[in-house]
Subunit: 125 residues, 2 copies
DNA sequence: TATGTTATTAGCTAAATAGCTAAGTAATAT
DNA sequence: ATATTACTTAGCTATTTAGCTAATAACATA
């Protein structure tokens, strides 16, 4: 279960447009790292990308992108793994799953409470 | 469907601890506004609270709380309604429902894509 | 060993944010 | 009419953030 501090970190990580887009593309596999060219045998999830590959898609410097990725990592919505020279980035599906569950629980509890209080089963305008 | 701008506003609204706690308490009905004492006939959702009632629970000034509530309103995760002197605040369940669905879709799509790519049906460590 | 590649860290600046107090508005109560 | 209540707006300051360049680190390769 995500505690408040963890949730705050996630919201902070996602409140910036650049980080949001990095997250989006890491998550949807928008641009896969061209690892195969020189290292065809490397065992990396083919969905993974790496820092410089992400940076190619933004008009920001590599250090800026690197810092953003660090923040996404600290919010635990991505994972990073160093292999040789490169840092491979993958979405952290577990955290997103937990977040989805948190919001769903909020909605479900709200509906149940309303039913308890008003005695109806559907929200009516 | 929430667009990116809308999502960014929501994450921005929730990335601050004070706003997060206001949201939490408005949402869970933590402190209901004592509207009944003087205006027992007023037709307001009994879950609703008002600005000064929220402010009582924080060591911040009323203007600070008022500004936070404004930001939560602009992110559309609460609604506000002026009745007489007071401003009644309620959670905006529709937005939260949509957000829950967004995250759930992300998780589902991720799982489906993995299945398509790797040909398995469960994620394995 | 020297050179190139990939990424991080340090240190800087401009802009945004979160808090405050004081002043203003609008409705209610006296 | 005046005072009070509930809230917002304006204007201020300290802190944080997001970007940059330059320097450094870690690894790969010629």
């Amino acid at each position: 279960m995500l505690d408040m501090e963890q949730k705050l970190k996630i919201f902070k990580a996602l409140n910036n447009q650049t980080r949001f887009l990095i997250f989006k593309n890491v998550f949807t596999g928008g641009y896969t790292c061209s690892l195969d060219k020189k290292q065809p045998g490397v065992e990396v999830n083919p969905i993974a990308t790496c820092v410089s590959t992400v940076a190619e898609h933004f008009n920001f410097s590599l250090p800026t992108i690197s810092n953003h990725i660090k923040e996404l990592k600290e919010a635990k919505i991505i994972t990073v793994e160093k292999k040789g020279n490169k840092v491979y980035i993958e979405p952290n599906i577990d955290t997103i799953r937990e977040l989805a569950e948190c919001f769903q629980t909020l909605v479900t509890n709200f509906d149940n409470n309303r039913e308890l209080f008003f005695g109806d089963t559907l929200s009516v305008k």
